[in-house]
């Protein structure tokens, strides 16, 4: 049902980015507010997320992906200990819509596996998502490892964890590009 509504939305406004940013993201942020205020149960929150991820998968099957000959590759993962993967999944889709080959690893990938995977796939970009500020230290450590293993790798980061800056002390990340949303990402990808 929800998938049908999402598809109808795309008929009227064929921008996937709008659908992701203005419908899915807004809805999940509201779910977060309701959950925080104890207005909905954890089960309801899980259901909402599961439905969203289900639709994302369905839409992913129908993404209009340009066929390019020399595809760039991107590996996408969440910062260690991070359990939020919906946002970075959208990020993967935007990469694909720009003709990139995406490898979405989601949450819970051990650092050693990530390094191995990058060695195998040789991506041009690694994208890491941070949703919760207290995982920031993990992110900094991850980046340090990646930089020493792959000095030429482009690393981009994003996620709402960066919006909660005031809650933690954030040291600056050198040579790392922070991108706040899908529109910005799209512009960035079209510029490189």
């Amino acid at each position: 049902m929800c998938a049908t509504i999402a598809k109808n939305y795309l008929v009227e406004n064929p921008s996937i980015k709008d659908l992701y940013e203005e419908v899915f993201k807004e809805a999940l942020y509201e779910v977060g507010r309701l959950w925080e205020a104890n207005k909905i149960t954890v089960a309801t929150e899980h259901l909402a997320t599961a439905i969203t991820e289900g639709i994302l998968n369905e839409l992913y099957g129908e993404l209009d992906i340009p066929e390019t000959k020399h595809q760039h590759k991107v590996v996408l993962a969440c910062a260690s200990n991070e359990a939020h993967q919906v946002g970075v999944k959208m990020v993967a889709d935007v990469f694909e819509m720009n003709g990139w080959e995406s490898y979405f690893l989601g949450t819970g990938i051990p650092m050693s596996e990530l390094v191995k995977f990058i060695q195998q796939t040789e991506p041009a970009v690694v994208a890491i998502s941070l949703s919760i500020f207290f995982n920031y230290r993990n992110l900094v450590e991850m980046i340090a490892v990646l930089k020493s293993e792959f000095p030429n790798l482009t690393i981009i980061v994003g996620g709402q964890g960066f919006l909660h800056q005031k809650e933690g002390s954030f040291e600056k990340l050198e040579n790392i590009k922070y991108i706040s949303n899908l529109y910005e990402l799209d512009t960035y990808l079209k510029s490189i």
């Binding site: 899980h46 991820e53 998968n57 979405f104 949450t107």
Partner: protein
């Protein structure tokens, strides 16, 4: 219990909160298992409410028959898992303690929230895993579909090139067969022309002789023969017929030559060719169509431009685009063909003022089997073949610009030299 003593004013509130706590359940029971008092959650587990305190005796394991037999040195008579509720329907397993004081039992039970949190986390990450696997599957399905499409495309291309091969062989065969008779017909025509000329000259001399020296009788008889056989007309027409025949044969020769050039079976390899003259030979094939639709066609075939290419294939690519242009224009429409050289690249530009290509079709025109032509009149392969020939074979590219009802421009761009 310090808090209790220090904050007696909180007692009521703490009591009330624990009455309503969702994770702890407690109740006082008679030895028969009848409820005397219970908090909300205990009532919930037992399927009753705090005012009715029904149903009774709903502890499943241990049940009250068992509980009353338990002996203990303290008030605590049982500690462990308690199954509670309606056994055939909804029931719960809880950590519990049961105390006995006088003739009353306190049953205190709680859900293992730590365990629940853990399970919840596991479920959450399992759910993510399933989701990610699903995504992976979709991705693989897509890749498979793409591979399948590519295979289909290649298969069609193979079938088509097989057909073209067969056609080419036939054309080459026919051309060869026709070449011999054409050669001697041409020769004979030249001889015939010479003989006819001699014949006419001789006849004129004879006539002059008769005019000068013959008797009236002979003159009359010659005049009769001359009229009966329309000699005047015949001598005049004979020259014309012969020269027309010569032109006809020349044309047949050119057509045969073009067919041979087009099929180019002998040229499956890269050759340096004169582009304009090659295109010219391709044009022979569509000339009739152009004339039939009264199309204003322009092409400057005198331009000299040498390129490295697979001549037969390049011809095919250009022909496909031209055929589409011809089909796209109305009667009396315009088609322009140009060749240009730029930065070591050669551009073959076909421009028409036909119906144009819609935006939604634009992305599909190079797909195999995509066609806007009526069923049966196009295979939908033309442009996909052109695409293969230009992109893959010649490492070039195709640019298309189109506007509805204004026309379409196709640019076939190939490097001047193939490495």
């Amino acid at each position: 219990m310090k808090i209790r003593k220090a904050n007696p004013e909180w007692d009521a509130l703490i009591n009330e909160m624990s009455m309503n706590s969702a994770s702890i359940a407690y109740g006082l029971f008679t030895p028969e298992g009848n409820l005397i008092f219970a908090n909300n959650t205990m009532c919930h587990y037992l399927g009753t409410n705090t005012t009715e305190l029904q149903p009774q005796n709903n502890l499943i394991n241990p049940n009250f028959e068992k509980i009353v037999t338990y002996k203990s040195n303290s008030e605590l008579v049982f500690e462990g898992l308690l199954t509670i509720g309606d056994y055939t329907n909804k029931h719960y397993v809880l950590n519990s303690k049961i105390f006995k004081r006088n003739n009353t039992y306190l049953v205190f039970a709680e859900a293992d929230v730590f365990h629940l949190f853990e399970e919840n986390g596991k479920m959450s990450s399992l759910n993510q895993e399933v989701n990610n696997l699903q995504r992976q599957l979709i991705k693989e399905k897509k890749t498979l579909q793409q591979t399948l499409n590519k295979l289909k495309e290649t298969q069609q291309l193979l079938i088509h090139s097989e057909k073209m091969n067969a056609l080419g062989q036939m054309i080459a065969g026919v051309a060869h067969e026709i070449n011999n008779p054409i050669a001697f017909v041409t020769n004979n025509l030249y001889e015939l022309e010479k003989y006819a000329q001699n014949f006419i000259t001789a006849y004129h001399s004879l006539e002059l002789e008769v005019e000068k020296n013959a008797s009236q009788e002979l003159k009359n008889s010659v005049q009769r023969i001359r009229e009966e056989n329309e000699i005047d007309y015949v001598t005049e027409d004979m020259t014309e017929i012969i020269s027309e025949s010569k032109m006809g044969v020349e044309r047949v020769k050119k057509i045969v030559e073009d067919l041979r050039k087009f099929s180019r079976l002998d040229e499956a390899e890269i050759k340096r060719i004169d582009l304009a003259s090659t295109i010219d030979s391709t044009l022979t094939i569509v000339k009739a169509e152009i004339a039939k639709k009264n199309i204003q066609f322009s092409f400057d075939s005198t331009q000299k431009m040498m390129v490295d290419c697979y001549p037969g294939q390049l011809n095919q690519a250009i022909l496909n685009v031209l055929v589409n242009a011809i089909q796209a224009v109305n009667d009396g429409g315009k088609i322009g063909l140009q060749i240009k050289e730029e930065d070591n690249q050669v551009m073959i530009i076909v421009e028409d003022n036909g119906i144009g290509i819609t935006k939604e079709n634009m992305s599909k025109i190079f797909d195999p089997f995509f066609t806007t032509k009526p069923v049966g009149s196009g295979t939908g392969l033309g442009l996909s073949i052109t695409d293969k020939i230009i992109n893959d074979l010649h490492k070039g590219k195709i640019e298309v610009a189109s506007e509805i009802d204004k026309g379409t421009i196709f640019k076939l761009i190939i490097p001047k030299e193939i490495k």
